[in-house]
């Protein structure tokens, strides 16, 4: 079996295992849309602040469900990997001809397939809430791919924790740290309108801001190539870094096995 076929096979397993857990699925689907709904309703007066880049707060926040979805689904994939290690499945898999790269990428592929379905639902939900999408039809796949790259980066980072600890609880425990990255970014306000200088500085050095701004540019501005390129660059850089670290953790785990 080729590496691609192995990735597809293990990806299918990861995908099916996720959709068979309706509690997790429902949360990953409902929470991001609910958050968009309540936050954009509560913060709508903010769109009247001079210099605010969008006509309404729902337009401004429309990018966030995609990041939330990436976060939940990618971490769920990492938790499942932790469970595979905990239950001994990874050890048994190591006795088969499955390649290491296929085991790692297969797990991520299942998460990406799931997240792409969720993005369709978030997109429809956002439009129903009154959001506008300036980039047009061609912008939709660009938005989805950028958000999915974010999911891969988060998933690979979560996989590192799963491989190092071998415990689903440990992956669950680091979940809030990813939320820190999200909340200390330009998620709620454009960086130039943040008044607290310390927060503006944190948001500027936080790579999550650039991922969000890349997604947001398609929604509120249309085709802002520079912002989009920075968003893609940050996502790809994060993937390269997270995958190299998780590959090392994978080798260490297999050696121990």
């Amino acid at each position: 079996m080729s590496a691609t076929a192995q990735i597809a096979f293990l990806g299918r397993r990861a995908f099916l295992r996720s959709i068979r857990q309706p509690g997790q699925m429902a949360f990953a689907l409902v929470f991001p849309l609910f958050f968009l709904f309540v936050v954009s309703s509560g913060l709508d007066p903010v769109s009247s602040v001079p210099g605010f880049p969008a006509d309404s707060y729902v337009d401004f926040m429309f990018a966030i469900p995609f990041v939330h979805g990436a976060l939940f689904t990618a971490l769920n994939s990492a938790i499942e990997l932790g469970r595979d290690i905990d239950t001994g499945f990874l050890n048994r898999l190591a006795l088969t001809p499955a390649r290491g790269i296929a085991i790692m990428l297969g797990n991520l592929a299942g998460g990406v397939a799931l997240v792409l379905i969720q993005y369709c639902i978030y997109f429809a939900g956002g439009l129903l809430m009154g959001a506008h999408f300036e980039a047009g039809l061609l912008g939709v796949p660009v938005l989805f791919v950028l958000a999915a790259l974010g999911a891969v980066a988060i998933g690979a980072a979560g996989m590192t924790v799963a491989l190092r600890s071998g415990s689903p609880e440990a992956v669950q425990g680091i979940f809030p740290l990813f939320f820190v990255g999200l909340f200390l970014s330009s998620m709620n306000m454009p960086r130039n309108l943040i008044e607290n200088s310390w927060f503006q500085w944190i948001a500027t050095v936080n790579p999550v801001s650039y991922l969000i701004e890349g997604l947001r540019s398609l929604i509120v501005a249309g085709w802002d190539i520079q912002t989009l390129a920075i968003g893609y660059g940050v996502a790809l850089g994060a993937i390269a870094l997270a995958l190299s670290v998780s590959a090392r953790a994978f080798r260490a785990r297999m050696t121990r096995t």
């Binding site: 509690g23 309703s41 913060l43 440990a170 669950q172 909340f183 008044e195 607290n196 927060f199």
Partner: protein
């Protein structure tokens, strides 16, 4: 009952402080919400009609205080459900002469954990320049209000956990609390909300809790009577909910 309650409380506190998967979410979420909202949205207090004297950091601290109080109870509900899944709760129920002491123990532990978490958020708030205009008595009333909301959250989640006895029930404990918290005036005063969210926030009990907390932090007693007037009967009602849940768990 005291022995049962103190033994359960000791165990829960020890587990909460030594297990990272319990410690981190309960502590980090209030901190994230506070720093994220107060830091990013500080300019919101320039919106016409925003007239909260202590400033936006204090405005958000009141929300985080109430939110963390209720959510700490939900985390306790997760722990109860996990204890049932692992068989520990069954052994505990056999060993305890007064089973209501188990509930009291969980509630005491949750209160202690919430006070510790709130101290961390308060320290961060003071570090970033949050102003508190209330005096010692106001802050004591604020603590009592927070503890009452904390009790409501614990009793609600315990009632669900004791009936369903599975961690799969987590979203049932968490989501209604999350819903009512975020359908309150979280980011701007209620007068600045318009449309459906204004209507919902007006009848939402958490609006009274958050506004009561904001009043106390601003050194005013406005809305405080309403907050306690709603919180105390709600705690009694959810006490009944949790006790009937305990009876359901006893029947198996």
């Amino acid at each position: 009952m005291i022995h049962v309650a103190s033994a359960v409380a000791y165990r829960v506190i020890k587990k909460s402080l030594t297990n990272i998967s319990f410690l981190l979410p309960a502590l980090m979420f209030p901190v994230i919400f506070f720093v994220g909202f107060a830091g990013a949205l500080s300019g919101v207090d320039r919106i016409p009609g925003f007239d909260y004297e202590p400033g936006y950091e204090t405005f958000q601290f009141a929300f985080v205080l109430v939110q963390s109080a209720a959510m700490a109870g939900v985390f306790t509900g997760f722990g109860i459900a996990q204890d049932f899944e692992r068989g520990f709760a069954r052994r505990l129920m056999i060993a305890a002469p007064r089973r209501s002491g188990i509930l009291v123990g969980y509630a005491i532990a949750t209160m202690i954990r919430w006070v510790l978490n709130t101290a961390v958020v308060l320290a961060i708030g003071l570090l970033i320049g949050m102003e508190i205009l209330g005096n010692g008595l106001d802050l004591f009333a604020l603590l009592l209000l927070g503890l009452t909301v904390n009790l409501i959250g614990t009793l609600w989640a315990a009632g669900v956990a004791l009936r369903l006895r599975s961690t799969q029930a987590g979203p049932i404990m968490q989501f209604p609390i999350f819903l009512v918290i975020f359908l309150a005036p979280v980011f701007v005063p209620i007068d600045l909300l318009t449309g459906w969210i204004h209507a919902v926030a007006t009848v939402n009990p958490f609006t009274a809790f958050i506004e009561g907390a904001r009043s106390l932090l601003a050194g005013s007693t406005e809305e405080v009577g309403v907050a306690f007037g709603i919180a105390v009967p709600l705690a009694a009602l959810f006490g009944l909910w949790a006790l009937t849940g305990l009876r359901s768990a006893e029947r198996g």
